[in-house]
């Protein structure tokens, strides 16, 4: 397990540093997008793995932080994180099944409502369907920033799992009633997870904003909500899911698949679990 994680970590590092070797603007651009979405995937897995909650509303911290960053700069990070945390915490009072549906409804509501949001900025009306513009970072800087954040978070999380707190988190994600029975403060541990997950999703939104220099209502789209779920279903663990999200973005954005990527995601979701069961039945072991 340790060896495989190290190999996967090395693979992630290789994928991330590849654009510097290739030095192609298009590669940089696509890789940057892949890194941003991988950070979002990471934030989603934290919530899913350590609390057992499946969220379809990670487009919310992603989108709200991108919007608020365009309007208020760095102040958006704590504000978006707090709002997202409170929303996840309130919804988590429902049971886990209801949480899935309520987060999906929340994601849809925001996706529908944001095009009607306008802001008065220096006597100019901005927002609406056009979205907001901001000063973007140079491609290289943006890429360096987001990829170092991804690698650092990934390794910190892998390290965290080896600690006492990591074991508590894994236990709560596995069976919160049993964890309670051993004296673990499940609500506190879940709240910590919601904060970490929201914060990382907020950073992915901020990186998206500084990368594109423009934020449209599409940051709240259902595709953004579903993407982490798809990548995790295919990947199953941190490093693999991150790699999968990379592969998905690369294969869909850099090829003719760009028009049909939702169809590809849907097909993968249908086919992959069946293939996985088939492989496990024949003795295959997944990391």
């Amino acid at each position: 397990m340790k060896d495989s994680q190290a190999i996967l970590g090395l693979m992630v590092a290789t994928v991330i540093f590849a654009p510097f070797i290739l030095k192609l603007t298009l590669v940089f651009w696509i890789m940057n997008l892949a890194v941003v979405y991988s950070i979002l995937v990471l934030s989603w897995i934290i919530m899913n793995k350590y609390t057992g909650y499946t969220s379809f509303a990670h487009s919310f911290p992603f989108g709200i932080s991108a919007y608020l960053f365009a309007l208020y700069g760095f102040l958006s990070i704590p504000v978006s994180c707090f709002i997202s945390f409170v929303i996840f915490l309130i919804l988590s009072k429902l049971n886990k099944e209801k949480f899935v549906f309520s987060t999906f409804i929340l994601a849809i509501v925001f996706w529908m409502a944001v095009p009607y949001l306008t802001f008065n900025y220096d006597n100019i009306v901005v927002g609406g369907e056009e979205g907001l513009s901001l000063k973007s970072l140079p491609l290289m800087d943006s890429y360096l920033l987001s990829s170092s954040f991804l690698i650092t978070s990934l390794f910190l999380l892998l390290f965290l799992e080896k600690t006492r707190v990591g074991l508590y988190l894994l236990a709560v994600g596995n069976d919160e009633v049993a964890a309670m029975g051993l004296g673990l403060n499940v609500n506190l541990i879940k709240s910590v997870c919601f904060v970490i997950s929201s914060l990382i999703a907020v950073f992915s939104g901020v990186f998206y904003a500084v990368f594109f220099g423009h934020v449209s209502p599409d940051v709240f789209s259902v595709e953004v909500s579903l993407f982490p779920f798809i990548a995790t279903i295919l990947g199953q663990s941190y490093p693999v899911s991150v790699l999968i999200s990379f592969a998905l973005i690369l294969s869909t954005r850099a090829s003719v698949l760009v028009k049909y990527h939702l169809l590809l995601y849907a097909s993968l979701l249908v086919v992959f679990p069946k293939l996985r069961r088939y492989a496990i039945a024949r003795g295959a072991k997944f990391i």
Binding site: L167, Y168, N174, D175, M180, G181, L182, G183
Partner: protein
């Protein structure tokens, strides 16, 4: 040590426990037997905080714990072992055992202690196995060991012998007979409880029907 006063519990009009009064002294092993649905598990779940009573109080070491949260009750030293094992199936056997000790001892010592317990029972070969991969009997043993290892003040064991084969019943008895903790153990029949308990009581239709002093 533990006092249950006028405890009753109803589920949607169905009475599970009626006016239960019970006192458990330190170092006592109390066996509770009765048929399915008689209220044995409900009583243990109320004491451990996983269920709230309709009326009545639970006093532990002079403190009213009736409406305390399960994790706070566990931290006071009352640990409950579930009838159907609730293990952390994605974690190893060693992790499952260490979780109850880790807060007090730290990770390294908790692992050391857990390995010691496993080797005492000739189960060290299970240490790195995932709990979800264990057999039914091994899961049941692990469920009991998981709470026992934390050295609780009061141990509540809900049907530890249920669905065990004779080999595992022997192992479970070996484990329980070695303990010096205050314990409440439930079972369907009195025969097996007589080997461990100092006092037995029968629950029928939510009421204590019979008391019996064993030793």
């Amino acid at each position: 040590m533990l006092e249950v006063r006028n405890l009753s519990k109803t589920y949607d009009g169905v009475v599970a426990l009626r006016n239960i009064n019970l006192v458990i002294e330190k170092s006592e092993v109390v066996g509770i037997y009765g048929p399915n649905g008689s209220g044995k598990s409900t009583l243990l779940k109320i004491v451990s905080g996983f269920e709230k009573p309709t009326c009545g109080t639970v006093i532990f070491e002079g403190r009213d714990i009736t409406n305390e949260k399960p994790y706070k009750i566990a931290r006071m030293g009352i640990l409950y072992s579930f009838q159907i094992p609730r293990l952390f199936t994605n974690l190893s056997v060693l992790d499952n055992l260490s979780l109850g000790l880790i807060r007090e001892l730290g990770k390294f010592k908790a692992y050391e202690e857990s390995l010691k317990i496993l080797s005492e029972l000739d189960l060290e070969n299970l240490a790195s196995k995932k709990a979800g991969e264990l057999s039914q009997g091994e899961m049941k043993l692990l469920e009991v060991l998981k709470v026992l290892i934390s050295k609780p003040k009061l141990l509540l064991l809900d049907e530890p012998f249920a669905s065990l084969d004779s080999e595992n019943v022997k192992k479970m008895l070996k484990i329980l007979l070695k303990q010096r903790y205050t314990m409440v153990i439930t079972a369907h029949r009195m025969k097996i409880l007589k080997r461990i308990a100092s006092r037995c009581l029968e629950i029928r239709e939510g009421k204590i029907a019979k008391y019996e002093k064993i030793r």
